[in-house]
Symmetry: C2
Subunit: 163 residues, 2 copies
């Protein structure tokens, strides 16, 4: 059965005890998190964030270059002044190359995606360093604290990565 069939029943329960309608638009902790889309990672729970605390930007790999549009909006219009980048162990991005996925899409969908960089990586630690440094060096990102973490999907623990 489609997952969406369950959304309304689950949401009825959530809304029945919802008491957070007073939160304001700008994030209370002035924080933006860039994290992987992975199903085993819940950035709010792993970092102790409450509803209203932080912008949470997520994509395949938690790649910061793709988060740039969102970060500019977050900082320029909504006042965030800190960024955390969160990648994780056993990431799918460690398992393929651009050439692999481009070939697969060409074969299975009959479409050419040679213009898309899928942003896989071979070294998890380096991917965090890279993604923190992309933001630190971008003239479009304010000079704010930017920290990088690896989340362990087996233990739930985060480890700060020196950058």
């Amino acid at each position: 059965m489609a997952a969406s069939a369950d959304f309304e029943a689950a949401n009825d329960k959530y809304a029945a005890s919802f008491d957070q309608g007073h939160l304001s638009l700008p994030p209370a902790r002035k924080l933006a998190v860039v994290a992987c889309m992975d199903a085993r990672l819940d950035p709010a729970k792993a970092l102790g964030l409450k509803l209203g605390d932080a912008h949470v930007i997520r994509n395949a790999g938690g790649r910061s270059i793709e988060a740039l549009r969102s970060i500019i909006i977050s900082q320029q219009l909504l006042g965030t002044r800190e960024i955390a980048v969160v990648h994780h162990t056993d990431c799918g991005m460690l398992t393929f190359t651009d050439a692999d996925l481009r070939s697969q899409v060409r074969r299975d969908l009959g479409e050419v995606v040679d213009h898309i960089s899928f942003l896989p990586f071979k070294d998890l630690r380096q991917s965090v360093v890279d993604d923190v440094n992309i933001l630190k060096k971008s003239p479009l990102v304010l000079k704010v604290p930017i920290t990088g973490y690896i989340y362990d999907v087996k233990t739930g623990k985060i480890e700060k990565v020196p950058t």
Copy 2:
């Protein structure tokens, strides 16, 4: 104080009772959610998703065109077969235009970002319809169920948008 200063203490608590280390990489419910980064929206809670259930892709506005790289990876490499798009009331994307933000960045940062589409919108309902249809019409996205929702930040309720 920087929010990151609290991450390790909060994460120690989270990890101390963590018992989800057995989850596998492909999302259990074969679902990918595309949602706004807004601090007042927790897609997992609002839709009743458990850890391991779904990929969660988030950006400013929950715009699906920017989620395309992640969705291709999600479907082609990790087997998801359903998509939900979640936008929300009182969205920051309703408050500016590309011209506004480009001017602000030029003035405050001294940088030209005329090449960046910030993807704001003037009609929330239409933005959900647009973002569902972008995915439905893309030859890079599989023919799977795709549903669109508006989340109400005042009540915690979701409303399915006919598309």
